[in-house]
């Protein structure tokens, strides 16, 4: 019914696995994101500022690199910590849940962290002073107010996992566990012309699932909104921190260990395999910097660095800027068109990259033909890459910002309007400072995956269009695993360094260029 070479039973099995995987990841990252966001913003956990920045880092690691690293760690034959896994090692459903959750955790975490920071802490303090225990405060005060960003964050985690490809391909396919995206991929890969059709048909199925989840989450958030529950942003009072008391030490240690397991361990694993002369050789006496040198001296490396930086910075800024205005129009001005647009950008976000790339190749061919009739030629792959990145990732910022606008009580805006403020002044003096943390988080969540995007890039690139993703693909396919690990390690280290630098600065300072 769907495709040649694949039975309906296989399609339904993949569908069921896709849904259960996404659900598991959304639940785990929702709970973990909530917990960590609360710990770093509301408790006296040790090193909270450092942790707050560091916990957003797993997102900086493209999932396929994380998959690579975890295969080094949990390889059933030679993995460094294979004893911690069942017989099949990291391969299988548990491995996919683990790795996807590490990445998808960032959506609810960053949303809730921004939510907590935006929320007037005096509400919680009032509850505490009336004698409520921290759990009660969270349940009765914080949670009801932070519903929309939490549901939205979990929804993004769900959609992210549903459309993710790298991890299911690396950790699921070797043990014959297919999800929809990997099925679609194999259709495109070896289906000839019929395969394109079958791939699209399966994508529609995936899309239907995604739309269902989006509709459900919108309904939930809508119900919440009608019950009231906006919070005024207040940057005057600093939250009084909840004292963890005797639990402070173990909780702090647990948080740092969790961070180490999520980021430092894979980082170490990649460094380890980048130093090996051949994949799998593990004696330190053999260690070599040859792979690093090879990667740094690749002619495409510099081109890719420039392209990826330019693409991710400019496209992310445009997309977040547009999202800021769009969400304003939708939430504060009640524009139906804007609200509809925010819904609509959920479609490309939950469409597999391969499908978007194929559609853009169609568009590129038509454009080239039209320009050709005018006697022009147009070969820049960067335009199509920018378009692909923009389309694929614009949902994150639009949805995050819409949720943030909803969370803030409109009284400030009303006061400004009464005083005669224009829309520009309103955005500049009220909304941008109020939402600065969300804007920054959204920019981060948009720019990082663009910097290392692989699936769409390998199809859309061309001469002069090398990106980090295409160089990685090339190393993986045509060089060897240690060289690919070397580039992966370089990328990861750069991302970690960037996050370390950002950690010390307040979001407002960065946004206002101070």
């Amino acid at each position: 019914m769907f495709a040649d070479g694949i039975s309906n039973a296989a399609v339904f099995e993949a569908l069921a696995r896709s849904l259960s995987l996404s659900l598991a990841v959304a639940l785990i990252s929702g709970v973990a994101g909530c917990l960590v966001a609360w710990l770093v913003t509301r408790s006296d956990i040790g090193g909270s500022r450092a942790l707050a920045g560091l916990f957003s880092m797993p997102y900086a690691i493209p999932a396929y690199l994380l998959g690579m690293a975890w295969i080094v760690l949990g390889n059933p034959a030679v993995g460094a910590i294979k004893e911690l896994f069942p017989e099949g090692g990291i391969y299988g459903f548990h491995g996919m849940v683990l790795v996807e959750s590490t990445v998808a955790f960032a959506f609810p975490y960053l949303e809730l962290k921004a939510g907590f920071e935006r929320m007037d802490p005096s509400l919680e303090e009032a509850a505490r002073m009336s004698g409520a225990r921290p759990w009660r405060v969270f349940r009765d005060v914080s949670f009801p107010l932070l519903w929309p960003p939490l549901v939205n964050g979990m929804c993004l985690s769900f959609l992210y996992t549903l459309s993710s490809f790298g991890v299911p391909a690396m950790l699921g396919m070797p043990v014959r566990q297919f999800v929809l995206t990997t099925l679609i991929y194999s259709q495109f890969k070896l289906g000839g012309m019929a395969g394109i059709g079958a791939g699209f048909k399966l994508s529609l199925l995936l899309l239907a699932m995604a739309m269902l989840v989006l509709a459900l989450s919108n309904r939930l958030v809508g119900l919440q909104r009608r019950r009231g529950g906006a919070i005024m942003g207040s940057r005057v009072s600093r939250p009084g921190l909840v004292r963890l008391g005797g639990a402070r030490l173990p909780v702090t240690a647990a948080a740092w260990i969790a961070f180490a397991a999520a980021v430092a361990l894979p980082w170490g694993a990649l460094a380890f395999s980048a130093l090996a002369p051949v994949a799998g050789s593990c004696s330190p006496s053999d260690w070599t910097l040859r792979n690093m040198e090879y990667v740094l001296n690749l002619p495409e490396f510099r081109e890719a660095l420039v392209n990826s930086l330019a693409l991710s910075i400019s496209v992310a800024s445009l997309v977040v800027g547009a999202g800021f205005l769009l969400a304003f129009a939708a939430v504060r001005r009640g524009s139906r068109a804007a609200a509809w647009l925010i819904e609509a950008v959920g479609v490309p976000f939950s469409t597999p990259g391969t499908v978007i790339a194929i559609l853009l190749i169609f568009a590129a061919t038509w454009t080239a033909a039209a320009l050709g009739r005018l006697g022009l030629s147009f070969d820049s792959p960067l335009v199509w890459l920018a378009l692909a990145y923009g389309l694929k990732y614009c949902a994150v910022s639009a949805r995050m910002l819409a949720a943030a606008y909803r969370q803030v009580h409109p009284s400030l805006e009303e006061a400004a309007v009464v005083s005669g403020a224009t829309t520009f002044i309103l955005l500049r003096t009220i909304w941008l400072p109020l939402l600065s943390r969300t804007v920054l988080a959204a920019w981060f969540l948009t720019a990082l995956p663009m910097f290392t995007e692989l699936t769409m890039s390998v199809l859309l690139t061309g001469p002069g269009g090398a990106t980090m993703g295409t160089v990685l693909f090339q190393l993986q396919e045509y060089a060897d695993q240690p060289s690919a690990a070397a580039l992966a390690w370089i990328l990861l280290s750069a991302a970690l360094a960037g996050a370390f630098f950002m950690r010390g600065r307040k979001a407002e300072e960065i946004l206002e260029g101070r």
Binding site: D4, G5, S7, K189, M193, S314, S377
Partner: protein, 335 residues
């Protein structure tokens, strides 16, 4: 008031990005799955062989990525590629069936054995990758433990030792599956399944699995083994006694080519000594019998003796059964 400045800069950056690259030169687009390193050695000589007002543009990716890209371009109206050089013979056959290829019976390809050339001139083999068995020489201490043939791999002593590329993703792997099931039937793949074979990713992931000893034995392209060997990897090839598997890798001109004359010129160049030497340096066999064999590889004359039979009819038959072979493989091995 830094924000408007930043915004302006961003708009300018976006503008620069979207500037189309215009140049007056005629362009010849080559889409190929040949290694980047090999392309680097071909780039200059081919450019020199073309008229000065022509710019040769290369797009390099995996065979299947190129097929996806060209298929999408064709479905949208016209392919940008003038020439294609990948290693999925079935795709060429499909393109020919649809009338997408420009027939060209070139004199330059006259030394290529007839079995590797399309009788109607739609495409011709320009190099010959072969599928062999690979193994990690540090894992096996005794040569008698090694598999000698494809048939050996079905033996229970290789349980959990074997991996192969996924034939739903890789054209070379599909050729191997098609020829092996023709020789041994699906029973053979049932035994491989019982041995818990991993069929995932491409040829490079098989190398990694061998090197890490996750799966010390692999079914893969010889060129991947030779390249790894060259870099100091303990991976070595075995030429199975029941036949190495030829993976025809043709060159063809697309009918949509805007400069068919130039495309023919470039097509011819790939059969010159210069081009064929570059192919051999890239660890692939040349189809020109007088050409040397790649370093560390079995001489072509030897290889030919144990090669599985190949012909236009076999290609035709396997092409017709393509969907059936894929579904049968999915059912047998991937479930």
């Amino acid at each position: 008031m830094r924000k408007p400045t930043t915004l302006l800069l961003l708009v300018i950056a976006a503008g620069i990005l979207s500037l189309p690259s215009c140049s007056g030169k005629k362009k010849i687009w080559i889409y190929t799955s040949i290694y980047k390193e090999v392309i680097e050695t071909m780039r200059e000589p081919l450019q020199k062989a073309m008229p000065p007002d022509v710019e040769v543009m290369w797009f390099q990716s995996g065979s299947e990525n190129i097929a996806s890209k060209v298929n999408a371009e064709l479905a949208a109206g016209a392919a940008r590629a003038d020439l294609i050089l990948t290693s999925d013979p079935f795709w060429y056959h499909e393109l020919k069936d649809q009338g997408r290829l420009l027939p060209y019976k070139s004199d330059a390809a006259k030394d290529i054995p007839a079995i590797y050339v399309d009788p109607d001139g739609a495409y011709a083999g320009v190099r010959l990758p072969v599928m062999v068995i690979g193994y990690n020489s540090r894992y096996f201490t005794n040569d008698s433990e090694l598999p000698k043939s494809w048939k050996d791999l079905a033996d229970p002593r290789f349980k959990r030792l074997i991996s192969m590329p996924n034939p739903l993703e890789s054209g070379s792997s599909f050729t191997a599956v098609a020829l092996l099931q023709k020789q041994y039937g699906w029973d053979y793949f049932e035994k491989l399944r019982a041995n818990d074979v991993i069929a995932a990713g491409g040829n490079s992931s098989v190398v990694t699995r061998m090197e890490t000893r996750e799966r010390p034995v692999g079914i893969l392209l010889l060129e991947n083994v030779l390249k790894a060997w060259d870099k100091g990897s303990p991976v070595r090839p075995i030429y199975p006694s029941d036949g190495t598997i030829p993976v025809l890798s043709p060159i063809a001109i697309l009918r949509d080519s805007r400069n068919p004359e130039l495309a023919r010129k470039a097509y011819d160049w790939f059969f010159t000594d210069e081009a064929q030497r570059a192919i051999v340096r890239g660890s692939m066999y040349s189809l020109v019998e007088t050409a040397p064999s790649p370093d560390h590889a079995l001489p072509y004359a030897e290889l030919k003796k144990t090669m599985m039979p190949w012909s236009a009819e076999i290609l035709e038959r396997m092409f017709a059964e393509r969907g059936a072979i894929k579904s049968k493989f999915s059912e047998t091995v991937l479930r």
